[in-house]
């Protein structure tokens, strides 16, 4: 279960990063402009949600007692 969560987290992270980069790729390096072909309205929003979900699934937790 833990492994599945991590795998899902990594997948969401990659998809989220792609969704955040694609709409802005038109401004970047010429070699990476092809990414902008996959842009659609609201993609940045989807990317942000996916990245947030990914970190939640990857579950970075502070050591006990660290948070007041």
């Amino acid at each position: 279960m833990k492994v599945l969560k991590k795998l899902a987290g990594i997948l969401f992270l990659l998809l989220g990063i792609f969704a955040l980069i694609a709409p802005q790729a038109i401004l970047g390096l010429t070699e990476l402009r092809w990414l902008s072909q996959f842009a659609f309205p609201g993609e940045a929003l989807l990317g942000a949600v996916l990245v947030g979900l990914a970190y939640l699934l990857l579950g970075r937790v502070p050591p006990p007692g660290a948070v007041r």
């Binding site: 947030g52 990857l58 970075r60 948070v67 007041r68």
Partner: protein
């Protein structure tokens, strides 16, 4: 992607570290950058009145009403929010940082963002050796791509830019000395490090690592203020880029024969302030993002020609001066925040910060 992570991490850090005082600190940071943006454009408009021979208003052209002006601002805001993915990412980053830091069930995501943000900052710090190479390449690439008239106007544009930005930076140094408890040595040492780096890179994001280190070492900012204030400033504050935008607008209008007056420049101030927050901190980013909107606002007859000319003019030395001003202004705001905000209880904040930063960076995945 980097900016989204950095801004989310900065917002989450701000809320987790400063708890109930985070809202006030956030409002102060954003408020200071908005105020600085507005003052910068009023200052630049005053300079344009002195430097150019633009008329106060164009004869026969009616002034827009207050309602018309307000509509223009709302339309700009809705355009950039709906059409520009960069601004969407910035707005989402702030929302995501706030959400993950305030809802306890989502804290794991906040720590993930903070760890990712720290990792990105560390990578930037390790790339310091790359700066001289990048600066050299940019200097070689400064283009002589205009005809004689274009070249003369580009020279005039650079000259105006130099006057406006250098006087602004001198005023900001004086402001920093008078309003914060920094010595001249600290102020000069900070400007001596960050200004040439910003000038050389021509992009705020590329200057972030040097700015953070110098703000801590030269201006004496605590890491918790520097990592919030400087990161927010790097992403949000483009006040000198907006000043340059007004200057380039006047010059390009002159080149293309687009009639323009001081009144129209004044009416451009609010939309340009709004667009300043969405401008990416890459060399010439302001030219790419603002020129299409400016073409619409100024009712330019040939928008395609306007945009391509604007982008060509907003290159070379223009973004270099802008970035030098933008980045050093971030440090001044950081110093102001450090002195004014941490007066309320730096000891308690420092203790809370250490445990939380340790938790965020050292937490197990």
């Amino acid at each position: 992607m980097f900016v989204f992570h950095l801004l989310t991490a900065a917002t989450a850090k701000l809320i987790l570290q400063h708890k109930d005082r985070a809202g006030r600190l956030f409002l102060r940071i954003v408020g200071l950058y908005v105020a600085m943006g507005v003052i910068s454009l009023i200052y630049a408009t005053a300079w344009l009145g002195v430097l150019s021979n633009m008329p106060l208003s164009r004869p026969g052209v009616p002034l827009p009403t207050l309602l018309g002006w307000f509509r223009q601002i709302v339309s700009t805001l809705s355009h950039v929010l709906s059409q520009q993915p960069m601004l969407q990412a910035l707005a989402l980053a702030t929302l995501m940082g706030w959400l993950t830091a305030t809802v306890p069930a989502l804290h794991a995501a906040a720590y993930g963002f903070i760890a990712a943000g720290d990792w990105i900052l560390n990578v930037f710090r390790k790339l310091l050796w790359y700066y001289p190479i990048m600066i050299g390449c940019l200097a070689i690439g400064i283009p002589l791509k205009f005809g004689n008239r274009g070249l003369a106007l580009y020279g005039q544009c650079v000259l105006w830019e130099m006057v406006v930005i250098l006087v602004w930076c001198a005023a900001m140094m004086l402001f920093c000395k008078l309003t914060t408890c920094r010595t001249w040595k600290q102020v000069l040492s900070y400007y001596g490090t960050v200004w040439p780096t910003g000038f050389g890179t021509g992009g705020s994001y590329d200057t972030l690592a040097v700015n953070l280190i110098s703000a801590e070492q030269d201006l004496g900012l605590s890491p918790e203020i520097a990592e919030v204030s400087i990161v927010f400033g790097t992403v949000l504050n483009k006040n000198c880029a907006t000043m340059s935008t007004l200057i380039v607008t006047v010059i390009v209008a002159k080149l293309l024969g687009v009639p323009i007056s001081i009144t129209e420049i004044v009416f451009l101030v609010p939309p340009v302030v709004i667009m300043g927050f969405e401008t990416p901190g890459i060399p010439g980013g302001a030219g790419y993002f603002m020129s299409p909107v400016l073409a619409v606002l100024l009712h330019v007859p040939n928008p395609t020609l306007w945009v391509s000319t604007f982008i060509a003019f907003y290159s070379g030395l223009i973004p270099m001066f802008s970035t030098a001003g933008n980045t050093t202004d971030d440090g001044v705001v950081g110093a102001l925040l450090q002195d004014r905000f941490q007066q309320n209880g730096p000891a308690q904040v420092a203790v809370a910060d250490k445990s939380l930063i340790g938790a965020a960076v050292g937490g197990e995945a």
